[in-house]
């Protein structure tokens, strides 16, 4: 019996964001935008969904009078990502 994949993570852009944030301490909105190639609007929507689920924390600051959005993965988010990738492996290698 396969575990259900977390629908919040089983989305291309949200999964990409979580994979990026897992390897860093924090990242700017523009880094996520450049790395994923997403539009600012779409990325904002997906970041809000991850934030509402408690998977990431979003901090808004100013740098040289420009707004700066910093994103960071939470412990809950890292745990959910681990469960998701484990379930993913089970889907792809059902025997192991």
């Amino acid at each position: 019996m396969f575990k259900e994949l977390d629908p919040l993570l089983h989305s291309q852009l949200r999964l990409a964001v979580m994979s990026l944030l897992l390897g860093v301490e924090e990242a700017e909105f523009n880094f996520l935008k450049e790395s994923t190639g997403a539009t600012a609007g779409n990325l904002s929507v997906q970041l809000n969904k991850l934030k509402d689920a408690g998977y990431i924390s979003v901090k808004k600051k100013f740098r040289d009078n420009y707004p700066l959005t910093l994103c960071k993965i939470t412990v809950k988010g890292a745990g959910a990502f681990g469960v998701y990738t484990k379930a993913l492996k089970e889907y792809l290698n059902p025997k192991s």
Binding site: S11, L15, L20, L22, G23, E25, T36, A38, L92
Partner: protein, 203 residues
Amino acid sequence: METNEKEFDEKQALQVVDEMISVVRNKIDDNSFLFLLWGWIVIIGNAFSYYWATAEKGDFIGYTWMILGPLGGMITGIYVARQGKKKMVRTYIDTMMAYLWISFFIALVMFLVFMVIGENYSLISPLILTITGIATLTTGGVLKFRPLIIGGLLFFVFSLGTFLISVSSMNNEIQFLLSAAAMTTGYLIPGYMLRAKYRSDNV
């Protein structure tokens, strides 16, 4: 990036994870500038110190470092502030390195203050080379960059050399030459190699 969730299967999910993890893995900054800056500053400082010591103008050694030290500090401060503004992502390695080099700087200033107040400069080279070795070897290990690891280890060897000179009857001026050699193998050579590696990785 496409967000069509209907066509997003498990295989593609794994591809996304792999692709994004490699983006972060390749996100290594060009750390060479500060190694090259301080490598050259300290080598020039030691060359002058050697010259003043052999010319029996020892007082000028202090003045040399009083000019070069703050000059290097100022350039470092401007460089670090500018880099910080450009930086879009902070990794755990960045944070660890920042704390490591801040600790190194505090230790260095404390050693210098102790020696100036105590008016005892006999162990200045061995002690500075030892703490530089700690910071350089750790940086090399964290970056997994062999030239920096070797350079870091050589700081300890040169530290031992300068210590043996300071307790022997040999001319103390040789300590300046050994310190310059330590900076060449520990900062300059790895610094240029780090820069070349960064440039070839980011072509």
